[in-house]
């Protein structure tokens, strides 16, 4: 399996994750149950005329992808691959509401045009005038990992040497109220103390746009390497450890070779049960990291998780705010990321220093 290199990052999240080093200005929101992104100054990236017509997910996607390209010092790429769980729900919601409230009359196409899941990928291509491969994955918690998997496969096939990969999701009011009704969102934020020991269902919801420039060649500016990505639809809880063992073995690694494990704890007791056994047994003596208490949970929150993992390798340090345990390592060479939601759509991502 060939390594690919992460050469650029762009992260718009509910935390200050641009113009900062690594979460030094972050804080856990212990009040709200729906977190909003920390807004960039859009006009520095998008003309105000274009910006007015764009939903926030599209804007955030453009800003995050621009930041990633800048860091990688690239003008364009050989492929643009995005992942999104819910897609452009702000515009979907707007158009659907107009249909229902006006009995299918007096509609304008703008919000329909921008409601498709691939709007962000299409708009980035339009902005870069990039006619290359362009794809959008929409499969819940593995939407982003599908994009990363595809990017890696393209490089193995010698079909691309640089790919822009991103995960984007946005919140929208009515959809959030439905999610709350269905119990996906907690009634109240129970604070950090109970986050890892949650005894309730539901999550604190978030949104974000996280982009990576991955390239086949290692450069002086390369930040980290992606060794492997695996996606599985269903896995029983008692098989997780074995599965991770075989995933590591296929990369000639053992549990002990993992310098830090980044887990997708989201505060939902049922989802978190999948991570508990890893925290308490498999990786009990390994530095453990969580991040959804900062980003909130959403379908592509794991892209934020990869950003955290990549930053750990880049800075060779784990900020206290994302530490699950107090174990430190001198060097962080190999990091495993594991994410799933409610026992469906599992992803295993292995990254390392270059």
């Amino acid at each position: 399996m060939n390594k690919i290199y992460i050469n650029g990052l762009g992260c718009i999240s509910t935390q200050k994750t641009f113009d900062t080093l690594f979460l030094e200005e972050s804080a856990v929101n212990e009040v709200d149950t729906i977190l909003s992104i920390h807004q960039p100054v859009y006009k520095e990236f998008i003309s105000p005329v274009a910006s007015r017509r764009m939903a926030k997910g599209v804007k955030n996607g453009i800003v995050a992808s621009t930041l990633a390209l800048r860091e990688a010092q690239l003008e364009t790429v050989d492929a643009i691959i995005t992942g999104t769980g819910m897609g452009c729900i702000e515009d979907s919601e707007k158009f659907l509401k107009a249909i229902l409230d006006n009995n299918e009359e007096f509609l304008t196409p703008t919000s329909f045009i921008q409601s498709t899941h691939n709007t962000v990928g299409g708009q980035i291509a339009l902005g870069l005038q990039c006619k290359a491969y362009n794809l959008t994955y929409v499969n819940g918690s593995i939407s982003f990992e599908s994009a990363l998997f595809d990017a890696k496969m393209m490089m193995e096939e010698n079909d691309a040497s640089s790919v822009l990969v991103g995960g984007i999701d946005e919140t929208a009011d009515y959809t959030m109220s439905l999610f709350r009704l269905a119990g996906f969102i907690k009634n109240e934020n129970q604070g950090l103390d109970s986050f890892l020991k949650s005894t309730t269902k539901g999550v604190v919801f978030g949104e974000g746009a996280t982009f990576f420039v991955v390239e086949k060649e290692k450069k002086a500016t390369s930040i980290a390497a992606v060794l492997d990505v695996e996606i599985l639809n269903a896995l029983e809880i008692d098989k997780i450890e074995n599965k991770i063992g075989s995933f590591l073995a296929s990369n000639n690694l053992k549990f002990i070779d993992i310098d830090a494990v980044v887990l997708g704890y989201n505060g939902d007791m049922d989802s978190d049960a999948y991570y508990k056994i890893l925290s308490e047994v498999t990786f009990a003596n390994t530095p453990q990291v969580y991040y959804k208490h900062l980003s909130g949970e959403y379908d592509t929150a794991s892209a934020f998780g990869l950003w955290v993992g990549t930053k750990i390798i880049q800075t060779q340090s784990i900020p206290d705010i994302v530490k699950i345990n107090t174990i430190d390592k001198e060097t962080y060479k190999t990091i495993l990321l594991y994410n799933q939601r409610n026992g469906i759509d599992h992803s295993f991502t292995l990254i390392s220093s270059c």
Partner: protein
């Protein structure tokens, strides 16, 4: 020529039939599926015609044996029916025996239920179960569960080219050995959301769609699901499988012109076709039939036609037809049902007619095949384009 990836099973449900055989018979006998809408209440019912599957959700639930507390969207039900047919057709009995994946495609996901219950959710606890069905991935997860498939599962959404990309990804994963077999395709149910969306864009025809006709007025929307089973050479040999046809070429390019409109010269379409030929190691003159995207919108047919002329050469475009006068434009499922039709064209040496065509377009000298034509067919090219500038081309070939 590259050997291509083997297709060993197919399943389909569309407005012209509930099985591969029914769809084939309809194509042979010009039985059109475009009718007045029945399953959705819309103010546009009298002015639009659609390719609707004449089964109610209850009938689909009964057919699938889903319990009363199920929360399947229509998209998930259509997808499950087609995927189960494909798996059965491929003779697969133990789905997790080999490394097996599922790659679906959808544009609306569970929108049909969301729009039906949008304002009712807060009053009626019985329907709250449908909130989670909106997510596109939930529809695919349900299909996977119905198939008992636990491995690699993902979903692609690139609007109207979605299923072409699902087939492409599946073929690539087989070729690279990441999977032994994979079920690929797409599913989209009719929804008020898409009806009104295309209506506001003024690209819905008030009659029957007429692809590549000078007087074309737009598309008829349709709903459908179709899946193909792709398998590795190793598995074909080991299990002595019958190969229906092969996916020999595939490509995806972006028009990078406009969010919803295609460029006048069809740059994206041209690039996709060109790249697909490269992947297939075939020359344009080897194509016997082109199943065009041919939505019958003024913009698409002009753009696609120009791209074909650029690629094949003036007066050298092979026999081509759009099958959308039969089925309507089934969005994310379109490339999947047209993949089934492409395989049927190869198996039966038949070019299916481009119905409703009368007058050639003023801009170029392109006349589609308007009647059923039997001739030797080795290679079929199928185009699919979507919002966001997405252009995808697949090439299907006879298996030696």
């Amino acid at each position: 020529m590259s050997i291509g990836v083997a297709i060993t099973g197919m399943g389909i449900i569309s407005s012209i039939g509930n099985s591969v055989e029914e769809n084939y018979n309809a194509l042979l006998n010009s039985q059109v599926g475009i009718t007045t809408i029945e399953n959705i209440v819309t103010v546009h019912a009298d002015v639009i015609k659609v390719g609707e599957i004449k089964k109610t959700n209850q009938e689909l639930m009964d057919e699938l044996g889903l319990g009363k507390d199920n929360n399947f969207s229509r998209t998930a039900m259509l997808g499950t029916i087609a995927a189960k047919q494909a798996v059965k057709d491929a003779g697969i009995t133990s789905i997790n025996e080999y490394k097996t994946g599922l790659i679906s495609a959808t544009s609306v996901g569970g929108m049909d239920m969301t729009e039906r219950y949008y304002h009712e959710y807060f009053e009626n606890p019985d329907i709250v179960k449908y909130i989670s069905s909106h997510n596109a991935g939930d529809n695919t997860d349900k299909i996977a569960k119905e198939l008992g498939l636990e491995g690699f599962v993902t979903t692609i959404s690139t609007a109207c080219s979605s299923a072409a990309n699902a087939i492409m990804l599946g073929a690539r994963m087989i070729k690279s050995g990441k999977l032994d077999r994979v079920i690929v395709g797409g599913t989209d149910a009719m929804s008020k959301f898409t009806i009104n969306g295309f209506k506001t864009l003024m690209i819905l025809s008030d009659g029957y769609n007429k692809p590549f006709d000078d007087n074309r007025k737009g598309l008829n929307l349709g709903e459908a699901a179709a899946f193909l089973v792709l398998e590795s050479e190793e598995l074909i040999k080991k299990e002595n499988k019958k190969v229906l046809a092969r996916v020999s070429g595939y490509a995806n390019a972006n028009d990078a012109f406009h969010q919803t409109a295609s460029s006048e010269n069809g740059d994206g379409a041209f690039l996709a076709m060109e790249k697909a030929f490269k992947a297939a190691q075939l020359k344009p003159e080897q194509i016997d039939y082109v199943n065009v995207h041919g939505t019958a919108t003024p913009n698409n047919d002009l753009s696609e036609g120009r791209a074909m002329i650029r690629l094949f050469g003036e007066n050298k475009v092979p026999d081509f037809s759009s099958t959308k006068p039969f089925t309507g434009h089934t969005l994310a499922a379109a490339a999947a049902i047209e993949a089934v039709y492409s395989v049927l064209a190869i198996q039966n040496n038949a070019v299916f007619p481009n119905l409703n065509f009368e007058t050639p377009m003023a801009e170029f000298n392109l006349v589609p095949q308007t009647t059923l034509k039997h001739k030797k067919i080795e290679h079929v090219l199928s185009n699919s384009f979507g919002f966001g500038g997405n252009c995808s081309t697949l090439i299907f070939s006879k298996s030696e």
